[in-house]
């Protein structure tokens, strides 16, 4: 199987997300970066599918040149090839991102053959636009289902599962296909030392993307309304148990 995974570099904030003074971005001065958990699972899924069915996995990102870090992380887990579409300045809007990724995929496929499966995360962790993967799939004329938490290969068909309120929905999608996956589809491995060393030597292909801006324009970021509560300290250590149970009775949890 030839598999492509599309990931995004995002900051990894801790207790709170601070906004830069100009309101245009998250203040990342003291933050590390990562890829979204959904995409980490997409990378793991690609590696597992290649282990089971043979073939090769490629990882692609559109982002700042520093996103090289996330590509090499994917490589350290077992992805063979990496492609960076470098941009400078603020994030591109979803339409622009999707058309640049579509163009890159078209070029990669012209050179080396079609991908049987293209994986995205269900949504990016930071902007949460819920659309780039779907736009790419439509532009390529391929089937796409989002929110996938299980993939089995059956000949030319993918059996894909997704969780809904009432239970699990099963889709049977013909390849070549595009799927958006959610965290929980697998438990991503940690990179081995050997993997990390190998990832340093991976040749990251760079293609400067070109695409027109879409119709959604960010004006500024705003903090979400914060819940402020004066915490009532019920006590220290096991001696607090009586006060806790009093509270549970008071709020009606324990009758």
């Amino acid at each position: 199987m030839r598999i492509l995974v599309c990931v995004k570099r995002v900051p990894a904030p801790g207790a709170r997300i601070n906004i830069a003074a100009d309101g245009q971005a998250v203040d990342t001065a003291f933050l590390g970066f990562t890829m979204s958990p959904h995409e980490e699972c997409a990378v793991e899924e690609a590696v597992q599918l290649v282990e089971r069915h043979g073939g090769e996995a490629t990882v692609l990102t559109l982002g700042p040149s520093e996103a090289d870090e996330q590509l090499r992380y994917a490589a350290s887990l077992g992805v063979a090839r990496a492609v960076l579409l470098p941009i400078t300045g603020p994030d591109w809007d979803p339409q622009r991102t999707a058309s640049a990724i579509t163009a890159a995929i078209t070029d990669l496929e012209a050179a080396d053959g079609a991908f049987d499966l293209i994986l995205f995360g269900n949504e990016s962790a930071d902007s949460g636009g819920f659309q780039v993967g779907i736009r790419v799939a439509h532009a390529l004329g391929r089937p796409m289902v989002n929110g996938i938490k299980g993939i089995d290969v059956d000949g030319d068909t993918l059996r894909a599962r997704r969780e809904a309120d009432v239970g699990v929905e099963v889709y049977e999608v013909p390849m070549p296909a595009v799927l958006g996956v959610k965290e929980g589809i697998n438990l991503p491995r940690y990179p081995t030392l050997k993997g990390r060393l190998a990832s340093k030597k991976v040749d990251v292909a760079q293609v400067v993307p070109q695409a027109e801006a879409g119709g959604q324009q960010m004006v500024r970021l705003l903090p979400a309304a914060e819940q402020v509560s004066a915490t009532v300290i019920l006590g220290r250590g096991p001696d607090a148990a009586a006060a806790v149970v009093d509270m549970l009775q008071e709020i009606g949890v324990l009758k």
Binding site: I17, G128, I134, G215, P238
Partner: protein
């Protein structure tokens, strides 16, 4: 005219759709779009939320939910009905259908809107930890409404139903739901009245046994943080947070969880929060309603014992 895409599962309308219909009323005259014959019975219920006309679409590939088929229907409805705004639910299905429609119409789409200004919209990012003000340059505004951002208030009118003809390529059946596995009845993490959750501080898979006991004693379920699922101590189905489950119990008991923002967004709808943590400065402690400062391995069994003692 504002067109609301009705989210339903084989004829059962989702509560998120009630919210979308209620939100739409503030924007203008509301019409609704139902997809598939199974939804034909929803006209009165839709009227209760103020939509005057229900456009009903039938088709061979609409026997069950399918993201591509539904997206294509919405795209054709936009062309046929010429709405100024189209609203869908900010759920797995709603966001997905709107993105498929937007891709087909080659128009922008804004997900999870919480405020509609005259020319600016406010939407959520980071699963709700951050907001974005944005502008939209488009002939039709394709939007989804963030779940729980609007009250599902009723405003009954007599809605009329009218068929809407569409042409659907049979190839769209490739992404229809083929099969379903119903969930066993019982309390789930999303609906439990009590959630006893453990974080890295629990230390191991076995360390969850006392949390399980307390949860059982209180008629609740066990949850966890991502540090726990990453360590393989619990299944991801137990994870609370941005990339896990959003919960809203009467009480959330967070044991050995630091309260990172991505965890907090999943827990913040809880009515009350009790944090049990060795660190009095932990974010979970400072944001909680109640806290016990101490080692969860001692505190949790003591609470369980006290509950049992009072029950006699």
């Amino acid at each position: 005219m504002i067109l609301v895409v009705v989210e339903h599962d084989r004829g059962t309308m989702s509560p998120a759709t009630w919210e979308a219909l209620a939100a739409a009323r503030a924007l203008g005259e509301v019409h609704a779009l139902t997809i598939g014959e199974a939804a034909d019975g929803l006209v009165d219920q839709i009227g209760n939320f103020g939509a005057t006309v229900v456009h009903q679409v039938h088709g061979d590939v609409l026997g069950d939910y399918g993201p591509e088929a539904w997206g294509e229907v919405v795209a054709q409805a936009v062309k046929a009905l010429d709405p100024t705004v189209v609203l869908a639910t900010g759920t797995d299905r709603g966001n997905e259908v709107m993105a498929h429609a937007a891709a087909r119409l080659d128009m922008p789409m804004v997900a999870n809107v919480i405020e509609f200004g005259s020319d600016e919209l406010t939407r959520v990012r980071w699963g709700g930890s951050l907001l974005e003000r944005c502008r939209l340059d488009a002939p039709v505004r394709l939007l989804t409404v963030a779940h729980h951002a609007f009250a599902a208030d009723e405003s009954p009118v007599a809605a009329s139903a009218t068929p809407l003809a569409v042409e659907l390529d049979p190839v769209l059946s490739r992404t229809l739901v083929r099969d379903r596995v119903e969930r066993a009845a019982g309390v789930t993490l999303a609906t439990a009245p009590v959630v006893v959750s453990g974080g890295r501080g629990v230390g191991s898979a076995e360390g969850f046994a006392p949390l399980q006991e307390l949860a059982a004693e209180l008629g609740g379920v066990v949850g966890c943080s991502r540090a726990v699922t990453n360590n393989g101590w619990r299944n991801h189905t137990d994870q609370v947070g941005q990339t896990g489950t959003r919960i809203a119990p009467d009480i959330y008991i967070a044991c050995g969880i630091s309260g990172a923002i991505q965890h907090w967004v999943g827990a913040m709808a809880s009515k009350k929060i009790l944090a049990i943590n060795t660190d009095p400065e932990a974010n979970m402690v400072t944001k909680a309603d109640y806290a016990v400062i101490g080692d969860l391995h001692q505190v949790v069994p003591a609470i369980t014992a006290e509950v049992r003692r009072r029950r006699g």
